[in-house]
């Protein structure tokens, strides 16, 4: 290295800016473009598959499967129990508690509640209406009297999310009741599209009970084969 090591360094050459001042036609390698596109595609697919739905409280990207377990086939619908739990934690657990037991004297329990399980005079349409439009005033649940207000969620939750959270509530903590379908929620939503006020117990009791047709709830653990949710047969009362 030694001879000329220093003098050559100090010799002035053409200025860099001057050399790059003119735009020249430079061949762009097709392979580079292809490589970039493959990278972008792969990265996008990875992000889509591992985003956990871009939820703030999903820490484990594997917990929510968006792409379905099957290979090649049509994507399985998201498990309503998983989606429902997520919606419940975010929306309902503040009052009704993660345990579904509510708070004595303030927020009624969901576990074993006749409202949730559509027993007695209560119908599936009533519980859907409460979630969509809210509830206020005195209410009796499992023989206990409560008097509080529940916010309407119809403007915030999609039909599928209402269906999922109700399906979750009706099949968690030992509860057992048929799943609520998105179509059923849509049906009830359209029936009371004009409603602005929360429901009261008396009002609901005056509406005839309508049941969603029995649909087996896919088990939370086992990935299920793709199945299309059957449309509800239920027609508005009368």
């Amino acid at each position: 290295m030694d001879e000329g090591f220093r003098e050559a360094e100090l010799a002035s050459t053409r200025d860099v800016t001057e050399m790059h001042a003119v735009t020249e036609r430079e061949p762009v390698s097709v392979w580079l473009i292809v490589l970039i596109m493959i990278l972008m595609f792969g990265g996008g697919m990875f992000l889509w598959a591992n985003s956990g739905g871009f939820e703030a409280n999903v820490y484990n990207a594997n917990a929510v499967s968006w792409s379905g377990a099957g290979s090649g086939g049509a994507a399985a619908p998201p498990d309503p129990m998983v989606v429902g739990k997520r919606v419940f934690t975010r929306t309902c657990a503040v009052c009704h508690q993660a345990s579904g037991l509510g708070v004595a004297g303030q927020f009624p329990p969901l576990v074993g509640s006749e409202w949730v399980l559509s027993e007695d005079w209560h119908g599936d349409n009533h519980i859907v209406s409460i979630v969509l439009d809210g509830f206020q005033g005195p209410v009796t649940v499992k023989g206990e009297a409560y008097n509080n207000a529940m916010a309407p969620w119809g403007a915030i939750l999609k039909d599928s999310e209402v269906a999922a959270v109700l399906t979750y509530v009706r099949n968690e903590w030992g509860n057992e009741a048929p799943a609520i379908t998105s179509e059923f929620v849509a049906e009830i939503r359209s029936q009371h599209a004009d409603r602005r006020d929360p429901w009261t117990q008396a009002e609901l009791q005056s509406i005839e009970r309508v049941q969603v047709d029995a649909v087996a709830v896919p088990a939370a653990e086992a990935p299920t084969a793709p199945e299309t949710a059957p449309a509800t047969d239920s027609t508005p009362g009368a």
Binding site: R6, E9, T17, H20, E26, F46, N60
Partner: protein, 469 residues
Amino acid sequence: MTTFPTPSQEKDVDASVRLPVMIFFGCAASWLALGTFLGALAAIKLVWPGFLDGFGFLTYGRIAPAAVNALVYGWASSAGLGIALWLLARLGRTPLRYAVLPVAAAICWNFGVFLGVCAILAGYSRGIFLLEFPGFISAILFGSYLFVAVWGIVLFRNRSPGPVFASSWYLLAALLWFPWMYFSANALLIWYPVSGSAQAPIAAWFAGGMMALWLTPIALASALYLIPQILGRRLVSYNLSVLGFWSFAIFAGWSGTALLIGGPVPAWMASAGIVASIFLCVPVLVTSINLLGTMSGSFGALQWSPSLRFTVTGAFAFLIAYVGGALLALPSASANFFFSDVFIGQGLLLLIGFVSMCFFGAIYYIVPRLLGRPWCCDGLIALHFWLFLIGGSLAWLCLIFGGLLQGYALNDPGVRFSSSVGYVAPFRLVTALSLIVLFVGSKCFSALLFLSIFRALEETKSPSQAVTV
């Protein structure tokens, strides 16, 4: 019509930035020596925990962060600021006015780093990576930075008419990103700390950003300038550098959270970090084509130009480090190797292999022009280069291979934890020796720099000797 500079114009420009740039370089060289010394000491303590044991200020947990902070804020940031000032003046063909303010800021910055390193050793560390300095010291650093950066931006604004070269884009971006990044991180983690649950992503973003958004753009600006300037040749694919710059700007900021996969950040944040790390391969490939492609056929020039030799080594390290970073960001790799020595190796490759080598290249180019005299001892330059190349690559290889063993051992619950320490012990021993080699190399560098400064000072005192260029 654009006019291009004459040598005499260039001399005026150089003279105007001489004092602040030389102060930055001088301090930087001293910090490099201190940082590698503390790093070597820390590495020795990992092998012999009883070595200089039982003193608070010499405990591993204080020496290691002190070394990293001395290297990042003392060496790399000081040198980077000096290089940025010189490049902006040179590329803008405009002299620096009121140099006294950047001179004062340079002194304040280095005084702040000195206080900060002392504070870490004295036990006032804040315990967040690269934010260990106590709050008032980061305020000093931030204030002095603003003075330098404002002068850099003024240089850019007052540039002579004409096209803006790619190096200026990177410098402008780095000068604007750093204060925003440093202020946000200090405000949210040190001055008025947010809830602990929000700190992990901010800290990871900042630690990644210090490399990707601050030191990397300056090092790239210097390499993109030096290689065509020294060879007197146009970059092979200059038009692609637009793609390189923008893809880098968009993805670099997101890459920091990749390693927090499975950690205390929502899944999407870690995934975004992983994807950004992979996407960073695009600007890295494009820039490497420009840097190394321009070199092709001219590797003989490495014989006579030390600047080129350091810069090209840095460019290779850049390619390896960022492609390696993309591979290490993949979940299957980070699951095994995050928390292992592999990541120290990755940091060493970025900081020593890439950034420091590019900065050495720039300093070897700039200082003779500022002092008006060539480097004094070729032998010392060669020694410096080989010590850094050998010490750096040996340390890197040992950290990577030792870290691979350590990572597999850590992730295998059937292997006792102490075995993971035992497996890497021989690798850590060689790493410690390599860091001593790096320390000797940085002593060569600072000796060379100060020798040149003293000789230049002597010449100006005795006007009988004519200053020759």
